[in-house]
């Protein structure tokens, strides 16, 4: 990349390159020093255990340990990818993530913008404080509430009946499952996620607003031309990171909310692994599926990062 001095080899000769590298290292020696602890952290707690990934290619038996277990090559990957049910799981996983991003991602931004426009500061504090409360409720309790609200005589059906409609079995309809999953997710996390944007908003130079006001800009113009561009890098980075998690969904909530009737849209990779895990300790198979998930996630991040670098100047790397 252009901003890396080391990436501009002006002189291809060996001694020159070494000298150059030495100079660069000397220039950045303090930065490397600062990075030392984080480097060790990732090395010890992430890269050391990563050797465990090899059990995806082995038939892991406790008696033989990770090294001693028998190699099986790609057996588990093939077994997984040739199972027609796996594709249904992948489809469901990606659809739930996709809906969550399309509908769930903008909400915290809108919430932060609305909060930012509030004039009454105590009211602003109250809304802010209250809206992040659901984040603290354990998912077990949240799922219990969702079932309560959507049950045959729950709040939602009571309202429908009061308006002359008929009680509807929301949680038994595959069609409705994604909606329930996404909406309850928004309820849980929108207020919480808006905090990141509020922090980003606070970094915008107030003089920009003053200048815009002097230039006669209205509220919406300021929102569009100052506020949004101000938090755009944060939005981009979060979106890239979210795309990287496209293969992982909130499976604990799904486990608590799905029934046989909604498997069609609700059964995802992790719930399947969970069920399989319960039947027996299938470490190798689960790891293989995990590696597959990681690869897909990484591909999405690389793609999103590439696009973002082309379209804006914000990128993960």
């Amino acid at each position: 990349m252009a901003d890396l001095p080391a990436a501009k080899p002006l002189s291809p000769a060996r001694p020159g390159t070494l000298q150059r590298a030495g100079r660069v290292l000397r220039k950045d020696r303090y930065l490397y020093l600062i990075f030392l602890l984080p480097f060790l952290y990732f090395l010890v707690f992430h890269y050391l255990p990563i050797y465990g990934v090899i059990i995806a290619f082995k038939n892991y038996k406790v008696a033989f340990g990770i090294w001693g277990s028998k190699w099986v090559g790609l057996q588990y990957f093939i077994e997984f990818l040739t199972d027609p049910y796996a594709w249904k799981l992948i489809r469901n996983t990606m659809l739930l993530s996709f809906y969550s991003i399309v509908f769930g991602f903008p909400i915290p931004i809108i919430l932060a913008l609305l909060l930012n426009e509030l004039q009454i500061s105590w009211f602003k504090r109250v809304v802010q404080t209250v809206s992040y409360l659901p984040h603290f409720i354990s998912v077990v309790v949240v799922a219990g509430m969702v079932v309560n609200f959507l049950s045959s005589d729950g709040l939602v059906n009571r309202i429908i009946v009061a308006l002359g409609g008929e009680s509807f079995p929301w949680l038994m309809q595959p069609r409705w499952f994604p909606g329930i999953y996404v909406i309850s997710g928004i309820w849980q996390h929108a207020g919480w996620s808006s905090i990141i944007y509020l922090a980003a908003l606070s970094a915008i130079d107030p003089e920009l607003y003053e200048a815009a006001t002097i230039d006669g800009a209205g509220r919406f113009q300021k929102m569009r031309h100052i506020t949004l561009p101000g938090i755009a890098p944060t939005i981009t980075i979060l979106l890239i990171l979210d795309l990287g998690r496209i293969m992982s969904v909130g499976w604990e909530k799904i486990l608590l909310l799905y029934t046989g009737a909604t498997y069609e849209t609700a059964d995802v990779l992790q719930t399947y692994i969970y069920r399989r895990g319960l039947e027996g300790a299938d470490f190798s198979y689960a790891t293989a599926v995990g590696v597959f998930q990681g690869l897909v996630g990484l591909a999405f991040v690389i793609g999103a990062n590439y696009l973002s670098r082309r379209l804006s100047d914000t990128s993960l790397w």
Partner: protein
């Protein structure tokens, strides 16, 4: 508090702006209601008489108000000790998180840093590939951290996701002071300590909150790395109370280990006890999310 922003907002009031404010307030009131009611419901159940709850009479007001369930919960040594543990793990863990994340985010935020690209990738890869529990457990075992606080506070040392948010914030900081410092001959460590960190209060506050909540709510590391009950954090106790044990029942008809679940009032009291302390953190941090911090720092 009257910021310049507020004053200008009042000066350009048009009809459109006014109605926008009204709609905005109405919307946010709705947000308050739908987020508050479930919390409120948990609270009123925890204060109600268990029998009234079982009869389904508690909907909008507590009935048969009493503190019995709280007395039961708080009399329990386990709860008190785990509350203390949670506070300890959260404080130590969050401090470690903030230091490590800052040390990680700052070099990666410097566009002129020669190792930026590869080290970013070094961090990013860990978001997608984990070795799995078994090797992680073995590493912690080899380090001798099993059944100690350090397993709980060191293993989640940096959340790469949060770290990238922090890095993005650092990148957005004005570069003027930065450049001035370099001319003054300050090295990178001095710049980080004297300029970057003091100017980053909002993101520090955000990270403090995020990490603290992450520690407070986490139970999984405690579950797998701790065996001594005296070291359990509160969330593990909470889970033992709210999560229904289903595994033994799976074993078909033979295993008669069905139990009555605990009374709802007790379960909800535990939820309240485990949630309130961390809720109290937010108001102390809230002022950092209010605009004007930056300008104060720049002028001061």
């Amino acid at each position: 508090m009257v910021t310049p922003r507020l004053r200008t907002a009042f000066s350009d009031r048009s009809l459109g702006s006014y109605s926008f404010d009204l709609i905005n307030m109405a919307l946010l009131l709705a947000v308050i209601f739908i987020t508050l009611y479930p919390m409120y419901y948990i609270a009123i159940v925890s204060f109600s008489d268990g029998k009234e709850v079982l009869l389904g009479r508690v909907r909008f007001w507590p009935r048969g108000i009493n503190l019995q369930s709280y007395q039961m919960v708080l009399r329990d040594d386990t709860v008190i000790r785990s509350l203390f543990n949670s506070i300890l793990y959260t404080s130590v863990g969050t401090a470690i998180n903030l230091v490590l994340s800052t040390l990680c985010a700052y070099p990666l935020s410097r566009r002129d840093f020669s190792g930026r690209k590869w080290l970013t990738l070094y961090v990013a890869i860990t978001m997608f590939f984990q070795g799995g529990l078994i090797p992680l457990y073995l590493v912690v075992l080899q380090l001798g951290l099993l059944d100690t606080m350090w397993a709980i506070v060191l293993v989640p040392g940096i959340n790469a996701f949060y770290m990238f948010i922090m890095r993005t914030y650092f990148q957005g900081q004005p570069t003027a002071l930065h450049e001035a410092a370099i001319i003054d001959g300050a090295n990178d460590i001095q710049i980080l300590a004297r300029i970057v960190v003091p100017l980053a209060k909002p993101i520090m506050a955000t990270m403090l909150l995020f990490y603290a909540v992450q520690h407070w709510n986490s139970f999984f590391h405690a579950l797998i790395f701790l065996t001594e009950k005296a070291r359990y954090p509160l969330q593990l106790i909470l889970r033992s109370v709210v999560v229904e044990s289903t595994f033994e029942q799976m074993n078909d008809i033979g295993a008669a280990t069905d139990f009555m679940v605990l009374e709802k009032t007790i379960r909800f009291s535990v939820i309240m006890v485990s949630t309130l302390p961390i809720l109290l953190v937010y108001p102390f941090l809230q002022k950092y999310f209010v605009k004007g911090v930056m300008i104060g720092a720049l002028k001061g």
